[in-house]
């Protein structure tokens, strides 16, 4: 797979978790350690993965 395909796959995986975990795993957890914590960590993971990709962009000035 190309790097681009990996990135799209990772993004799709994140979106799948976005629905699956809060609605099917944490639906009865009425605590801060439930959906609130999940979404916070999940978003942080998405942001970090975007940083990893953009870190590799070459700073060729035009």
């Amino acid at each position: 797979m190309t790097k681009s395909a990996w990135a799209w796959t990772w993004f799709a995986f994140l979106l799948a978790l976005d629905i699956a975990i809060p609605w099917f795993v944490l639906t009865r957890v009425e605590r801060l350690s439930g959906a609130f914590l999940f979404w916070t960590i999940w978003a942080a993971a998405a942001i970090i993965s975007a940083f990893i990709i953009l870190w590799k962009w070459r700073g060729v000035e035009r």
Partner: protein, 502 residues
């Protein structure tokens, strides 16, 4: 002195500082359409990041999202963070927009589509889509400012006066030096937004006994708010997808933000813009949601979601000075969004409608003049819409800020397949793009107006499905602009490899 005096004083200081910044930006203003609408594609990373943040995050966050959290709980956090996760797609779209913008000199995203599909009708269709759906979105910002100023001043400032103040500032910021004044005032406003909201959240959490006590009280008092679906059926999967789907693609569906992908001056600036925005967005989202939870604990039993923030700011635990500063911060969030919308719509009208159809031989100076005239006209239309909504018998709040914002985004979502096709599918055609945009938008409007939700799916969800099917189906039966597609996508493939983009 009365609270009303201090509210007016705060507004006066805000306007004076904003005006000063805009006038300073004017000193840097050069000539030409690209200069006025895109700051000649020479903005640095720091200003780009703050401007992108201020444009994206509007009054919706501290008013609409906080209200949504107040009533529906943690699903609001998921919904807003889903938008932020959608920004991951920037790693694909930011370099692509930026590269072709520089090569072909595009001023608006619609011009990109017209050129890529070799058909001005595609640009005009998506331009009309933007004009139709961004006006209510802009009006929502105006309403937010009006209700907030009225709430904080205890009704001394009528809602319509707040709306007028927002309109006048937005016209000024966008007219004085085009994107330069918009970006510089945005940068100032973004800092005001995040600093003031963090400060007032700190006061609320301190009043509730610190973070530990805040979360313990929340778990004890309203455990249902911490899970999905909450009691009463809010945040079932259909509602979540219906609200989140249009926002997931916000970065490319909303031209006032996708146009910003043309402006960084370098790849380094591009990285700073994206990185800075992601950090800003994450912090601001958490602040807005915690603010909504705080309102729920301190002010249980409110009847209207959009009253959560004004009511919380009116509590005695919030010092008057801080409440006024926060009001200014939220006003800044709204105005920084409206001025960007006005500037983008004016560029879209001037480039894609006027030059594209009405007068293709117009000079650059004439095109710019048209764009500058469109700014106040669009502002007045948004003002009239906002005024009309607030004058409805039961008041404008019965429309709720969050659903109205989402409805606008659902309409704009219909341009997304055409944008994906432009960058990733050589077989995509102009007719496919136009038919899918029009049919999808009409469907969204019908479902929105009638309130019809077959299978419980929201208008944006249905519209998007129909839009994708039509885009692919019609494209397969019509002839694509092969030469342009090869050149456009081929150029990107080569350049993306050079910059180590994906």
């Amino acid at each position: 002195m009365s609270a009303t005096f201090w509210v007016w004083f705060g507004i006066a200081v805000y306007i004076a500082v904003g005006l000063g910044i805009a006038l300073m930006a004017r000193r840097q203003l050069g000539v030409g359409v690209s200069e006025f609408f895109l700051a000649n594609r020479r903005l640095g990373g720091f200003v780009s990041a703050l401007s992108y943040s201020a444009t994206t995050y509007s009054a919706f966050m501290m008013v609409g999202l906080a209200g949504l959290t107040y009533f529906t709980g943690v699903g609001a956090l998921g919904f807003e963070l889903t938008y932020l996760c959608g920004m991951f797609m920037m790693v694909f779209f930011l370099p692509r927009f930026w590269l072709v913008g520089k090569k072909y000199g595009y001023v608006s995203p619609m011009e990109l589509l017209s050129d890529r599909y070799q058909n001005r009708g595609v640009g005009a269709t998506t331009a009309i889509l933007a004009l139709v759906f961004l006006v209510p979105y802009g009006a929502v910002q105006l309403m937010g400012v009006g209700y907030l100023m009225s709430g904080v001043s205890g009704g001394a400032i009528p809602v319509v006066v707040g709306i007028i103040i927002a309109v006048v500032c937005a016209i000024a910021w966008s007219s004085i030096a085009g994107l330069r004044s918009v970006a510089w005032t945005d940068a100032f406003q973004a800092l005001v937004m995040i600093v003031t909201s963090a400060a007032v959240l700190g006061v609320v959490i301190a009043a509730l006994g610190g973070f530990g006590a805040f979360f313990s009280r929340l778990e004890a008092a309203s455990p249902g708010l911490l899970t999905v679906p909450t009691a009463g059926g809010a945040w079932n999967i259909n509602m979540f997808i219906g609200l989140a789907l249009p926002w997931l693609f916000f970065l490319i569906s909303n031209p006032q933000v996708s146009q910003r992908l043309f402006i960084p001056k370098s790849i380094t600036a591009m990285k700073q813009m994206l990185g800075g925005f992601l950090i800003f967005g994450f912090i601001y989202t958490l602040i807005s949601v915690l603010w909504g939870f705080g309102a729920h604990l301190l002010l249980p039993g409110l009847e209207n979601a959009d009253l959560a923030t004004p009511s919380l700011l009116a509590l005695p635990i919030i010092p008057t000075g801080l409440a006024i500063v926060v009001m200014i911060g939220i006003t800044a969030a709204a105005i920084s969004t409206i001025d960007s919308i006005l500037l983008t719509l004016s560029s879209v009208w001037a480039r894609d409608i006027h030059r594209g159809f009405i007068n293709p031989r117009v000079s650059e100076r004439g095109e710019l003049r048209v764009g500058q005239w469109v700014i106040p006209i669009m502002a007045i239309i948004a003002f009239l819409f906002a005024w009309w909504v607030t004058e409805q018998p039961q008041g404008g709040l019965n429309l709720m800020i969050a659903p109205l914002s989402s409805a606008a985004s659902a309409g704009l979502l219909m341009a997304v397949p055409a944008i994906f096709g432009a960058f990733f599918w050589k077989r995509a055609t102009a007719l496919g793009a136009m038919v899918s945009c029009i049919a999808g938008a009409v469907l969204v409007l019908i479902f929105q107006i009638t309130g019809w939700k077959p299978l419980g799916w929201w208008p944006g969800t249905w519209g998007f499905i129909v839009c994708i099917i039509l885009f692919v189906g019609v494209s397969l039966f019509t002839r694509p602009p092969r030469d342009k597609a090869e050149e456009f996508i081929g150029y990107l493939k080569e350049e993306l490899k050079k910059g180590n983009f994906i």
